[in-house]
C-alpha cells in the first residue's frame, strides 16, 4: 500500500546522517561561502524530501498531499536562497 523507495529506512537514515555532516562541513570549512551555503540549503531540502518519502511513506498514491509536500520543499529552497542571493547580488 505505502511503498517507500528501494533504499529502505536504514539506508535512508545513513544517507540523512552523511548529508547532515556534509552540509555542516561544506558550510563551515569551504572557502566558497556562497556556493557552500547554497549547497547546505539544497541538502536540507533533499533531507526533508527523504523524510516525507521514506519515513512518512508519502507516495504518489496520495497525489494531492505528495504534490503539496514536493512544492513545499522546493518553495523552502526558493524562499531561503532567493533572499540570501538577493543580498549578495544587490548589497545595501
Amino acid at each position: 500500500m505505502n511503498k517507500r523507495t528501494d533504499l529502505g529506512p536504514n539506508a535512508v537514515y545513513i544517507v540523512l546522517m552523511l548529508a547532515t555532516l556534509l552540509s555542516f562541513g561544506l558550510a563551515e570549512k569551504s572557502a566558497a561561502a556562497h556556493i557552500a551555503t547554497s549547497a547546505a540549503v539544497v541538502i536540507g531540502a533533499f533531507k526533508a524530501r527523504c523524510i516525507f518519502v521514506d519515513f512518512m511513506e508519502l507516495t504518489w498514491e496520495a497525489k494531492g498531499f505528495r504534490i503539496a509536500f514536493e512544492v513545499w520543499a522546493v518553495l523552502a529552497v526558493v524562499v531561503i536562497l532567493g533572499g540570501y542571493w538577493s543580498t549578495i547580488v544587490h548589497p545595501h
Partner: protein, 214 residues
C-alpha cells in the same frame, strides 16, 4: 433470561464490528495514520513557510545584522541537534514497523529510545538558549535573535507535543497490538517526522547562511 456477562457481549459486539469497519476503512487510505493528521501537518508546513518568508524578508533588509547574529551561534550544536532528531525519527520508523508485525516489546523499546533522544534534543536546545542568553543575546538585542528564539521556540513546542504523542503510543503498547493501535502509532510517527523535517531546514537557515560579497 441472559446473565450479565452475556449482555455485555451482546452490547460490545456491534461496537467491535463498527470499530473493525472503521479501521478497515482507514486501512484502505493511501496514507499511513488517520487522514486528519495529514491535514494538520500540511497546515503546520504552511505556517512554517510563512516563518521562512518573514525571516528571509527581514534578512534582506539587514543582512549584516543577521550575519552578526548567526556568527554568535555554535553550528556544532545545530549539527548535533539535527543528528539527534534524525536518529529519533529513524527509531520511530522502526517502532511503526514493529507495530505492524505485532511486536509490542520492540515498539516500546524503539519508542523509549526515540523519546530519550527527543528529551536530549530539548535539553541541548535549552542549553543553547541559556548559553546565548548568558552571552547577552536576547530577542531584542538583534533582529536575528528575535526570529531565532521565536521560530526555534515554536519548533520546540512541536517537539514537546510530538513527545506527548509518542508517550501515549508507548503507554498504549502495553496492551496487545491491534489495527487501531497501528493507526495511532502511524499518526504519531507522521507528526514526529514532520518535526524532524522542519528542523532539517531550520538548521541551515539559522546556523549555516554565511554572507559575503561576490
Amino acid at each position: 433470561m441472559p446473565d450479565g456477562r452475556t449482555q455485555v457481549v451482546a452490547i460490545s459486539r456491534p461496537v467491535a464490528l463498527a470499530d473493525a469497519e472503521r479501521i478497515s476503512a482507514f486501512r484502505k487510505s493511501k496514507l499511513p495514520g488517520v487522514d486528519g493528521i495529514w491535514v494538520f501537518i500540511t497546515g503546520d508546513l504552511v505556517m512554517f513557510m510563512i516563518y521562512f518568508l518573514v525571516f528571509t524578508t527581514g534578512r534582506m533588509e539587514a543582512p549584516a545584522a543577521y550575519d552578526l547574529g548567526r556568527r554568535q551561534l555554535d553550528p556544532l550544536i545545530g549539527c548535533a541537534l539535527t543528528l539527534i532528531l534524525l536518529t529519533s525519527s529513524w527509531l520511530v520508523v522502526r517502532a511503526v514497523e514493529a507495530a505492524r508485525e505485532g511486536s509490542s516489546g520492540r515498539v516500546r523499546t524503539n519508542l523509549l529510545l526515540a523519546m530519550l533522544l527527543g528529551t536530549g534534543f530539548a535539553g541541548l536546545k535549552a542549553f543553547g538558549y541559556v548559553h546565548d542568553a548568558l552571552a547577552g543575546h536576547s530577542p531584542s538585542s538583534n533582529p536575528f535573535f528575535g526570529y531565532y528564539y521565536a521560530i526555534t521556540g515554536i519548533h520546540c513546542m512541536h517537539v514537546m507535543l510530538g513527545m506527548g504523542l509518542l508517550l501515549i503510543c508507548y503507554v498504549k503498547a502495553s496492551k496487545p497490538i491491534d489495527d487501531k493501535y497501528v493507526l495511532w502509532i502511524e499518526s504519531g510517527a507522521c507528526f514526529w517526522h514532520m518535526v524532524d523535517m522542519l528542523w532539517v531546514l531550520l538548521f541551515p537557515m539559522f546556523y549555516l547562511l554565511r554572507s559575503g560579497v561576490l
